[in-house]
């Protein structure tokens, strides 16, 4: 869509130059220099076009095609002979909305996303506050704390899988030794775990919870980095003034630091929410989408690879992207100003 405005001024430029006789004359006599803003305009368009082209070809066009595919009956085998505009229908969408699996998966995705977003941002905030003042070895610890974020997801997922394994996992072994667990707990394959606490009886969605904890663990460094950077930019005088006024640490945090951090926290929440909503690899590697962890992205993958039903996969991906946009729309409507300032 931005091709039109991007091309428009250039066209206007050239047309003006060719129709304007004085411009024509001076061009032949030795080109009249363009105004600085017009030159910047031209250079800008020239510089942005390669990038724009790449984004257009590898991102925008494929997404546009997903939209088309979602309205077609398309299995991978038929696609070879299919034109861009085949038979249009809403079958894929009715199939998506009619299946019970879709709604439960959407619910799971929302739970997973909300839990992982809040958890990772909160842990990141706590970490940033704890590492705010310098101490010996802070630099090293700060670097080490980024490990979960930079390490390959496949590797860390396996470490968790092995550590949590009921047969040879270190967690269950220590749980038995320290807390006297009778039976090993299958963290990644238990849909509902019964817990008796103070005479009350709970069913905990254990596998989902484990996956959420994993996600918090993996992404809290991201939040930590951004919050720490912002913390370091808070002027000391603000807190000193609060200290002189006799504010306690919690008061200083609540009334001085938190307002300063709010924009970056809001931005992080939005970013993490979007990322987690579409997250595929973490859940796929840990549980394969079983035991109540069938998040939407894993379902799309299953449609695509197990059934080769490209149309249904596209429709589902589209519905997800749209629901994400609606959620974001609400968010920006109510809290938008802060985030926009930050972005």
């Amino acid at each position: 869509m931005p091709t039109a405005p991007a091309g428009a001024p250039q066209r206007r430029d050239t047309s003006r130059r060719t129709t304007d006789p004085s411009g024509e004359r001076s061009a032949s006599a030795g080109r009249r220099p363009l105004t600085a803003s017009r030159r910047a305009n031209r250079a800008g368009l020239a510089f942005v076009s390669p990038t724009f082209l790449v984004v257009l070809v590898v991102v925008v066009l494929p997404i546009a095609w997903t939209v088309l595919l979602a309205f077609q009956k398309a299995r991978l085998v038929d696609i070879q002979g299919m034109g861009l505009f085949g038979n249009w229908s809403l079958d894929n969408f009715s199939q998506v909305f009619d299946s019970a699996g879709f709604w439960s998966s959407l619910g799971t995705t929302l739970l997973y996303t909300a839990g992982a977003t809040l958890g990772s941002v909160l842990l990141g905030l706590v970490a940033a506050l704890a590492l705010r003042k310098p101490f010996k070895g802070r630099g090293l610890l700060r670097a080490a704390m980024l490990l979960p974020y930079v390490a390959p997801v496949v590797a860390v997922a396996f470490v968790w899988e092995v550590a949590l394994s009921p047969q040879y996992g270190v967690v269950n072994d220590w749980g038995r030794r320290l807390f006297g667990w009778d039976d090993p707990i299958a963290f990644l394959s238990t849909r509902q775990y019964e817990v008796d606490l103070l005479g009350l009886h709970f069913d905990v969605p254990l596998a989902l919870l484990t996956v959420i904890v994993f996600e918090c663990w993996r992404y809290f460094p991201f939040a930590f980095l951004f919050i720490l950077a912002r913390l370091q930019a808070v002027p000391d005088t603000l807190e000193e003034a609060a200290l002189v006024d006799g504010a306690t640490p919690t008061q200083r945090f609540r009334h001085v630091l938190l307002p300063q951090l709010m924009p970056v926290i809001a931005l992080l929440c939005v970013l993490r929410f979007i990322m987690t909503f579409n997250k595929f690899d973490d859940v796929y590697l840990l549980t394969g989408g079983g035991a109540g962890t069938d998040v939407a992205a894993v379902r799309v993958y299953d449609f695509l690879t197990a059934r080769y039903d490209v149309g249904a996969a596209a429709a589902q991906a589209l519905v997800l992207a749209l629901s994400l946009m609606i959620l974001l729309g609400f968010y920006f409507k109510f809290f938008g100003n802060k985030v926009q300032e930050e972005a």
Partner: protein, 294 residues
């Protein structure tokens, strides 16, 4: 009276958070380091030792072994898992992605940060919006297109997909850095007779080198760690597997001991972690620049 209670509350809080801070620091150190220690530890013992005593957190001298690594790295012809080949594939894809992404992102980032051109607001919004699109949405059409043009099991195709994933972030990171370079430097270069392109090549790029490196590093990490597209496009062709994919496929095999899997994990993790520690400051500053402005 009220002054006194406030003082004691303040003192209590100071003391409480003084202690809590160290507990938190210790907790964070444990949760971030222990999994990686555990990974290395398991990779160094034979599977029997793990099964006998799953709770042990060290490896005794008589159990210590490097055969897991030998098994993982040896080529499949020699009965190993062929990870050397996967390492090479991963390196090729990741480096290719870094180069392509930078080539695609630098001009755009420069234009967005420096030049007031018609529609520059829309273009930079588009770049950001693209960053928000889910990989699964892209996966469907790319899967189909690649199946159609026969790129579906090639490293080149994979690198192209990774470029799509990394260009938006790169533009964002580079842009945040480029706006901090004073415009007067460019004006001086222009006065000395440099054209815009020359200015970018001779003045801006050298000045932006830290940011280029940080961005390149981040792109490398994304490409090296990526799993979904590798799985979609390469799963059928073991010769082209990346390390991530190779490891995931290895775990599906029933006969591979977990300790060998852990050795594979260590091998997958080491290049990224080494790179990261070599350039940690650069990377964190590149990522968060712009986050601290109020």
């Amino acid at each position: 009276m009220s002054g006194k209670t406030a003082l004691t509350r303040a003192r209590f809080e100071e003391r409480f958070f003084g202690v809590a801070r160290w507990i938190v620091i210790a907790f964070l150190a444990v949760i971030t380091l222990l999994p990686f220690y555990y990974m290395v530890l398991l990779s160094l013992k034979p599977i029997d030792a793990l099964l006998l005593d799953p709770g042990s957190l060290w490896v005794s001298a008589k159990d210590f072994t490097l055969s897991t690594y030998r098994d993982v790295l040896r080529s499949t012809d020699d009965g190993g898992q062929g990870f050397l080949r996967f390492l090479l594939n991963s390196a090729l894809v990741s480096l290719g992605t870094v180069v392509l992404t930078l080539v695609a992102a630098v001009p755009g980032a420069y234009a967005v940060s420096r030049l007031k051109f018609f529609g520059h607001r829309q273009v930079s919004a588009l770049f950001l919006a693209v960053y928000l699109f889910p990989a699964t949405l892209l996966a469907v059409p790319l899967f189909v297109i690649f199946a159609k043009i026969g790129l579906s099991s090639s490293l080149v195709g994979l690198a192209v997909v990774y470029v799509a994933q990394t260009v938006p972030v790169s533009i964002y990171m580079l842009k945040n850095y480029l706006v901090t370079i004073p415009a007067s430097i460019e004006e001086a270069a222009a006065l000395d007779g440099c054209s815009r392109l020359q200015t970018v090549r001779k003045v801006i790029l050298p000045l932006a080198l830290p940011s280029l490196m940080a961005t390149g590093l981040y792109v490398f990490m994304i490409a090296w760690n990526e799993f979904l597209f590798a799985l979609l496009f390469l799963a059928a062709d073991p010769g082209e597997w990346t390390v991530s994919l190779g490891l995931a496929q290895l775990s599906n095999g029933i006969e591979v001991p977990k300790t060998v899997l852990m050795a594979g994990s260590v091998i997958l993790t080491i290049p990224v972690v080494l790179l990261f520690f070599a350039a940690e400051r650069l990377l964190t500053e590149g990522l968060t620049s712009g986050a601290d402005k109020s």
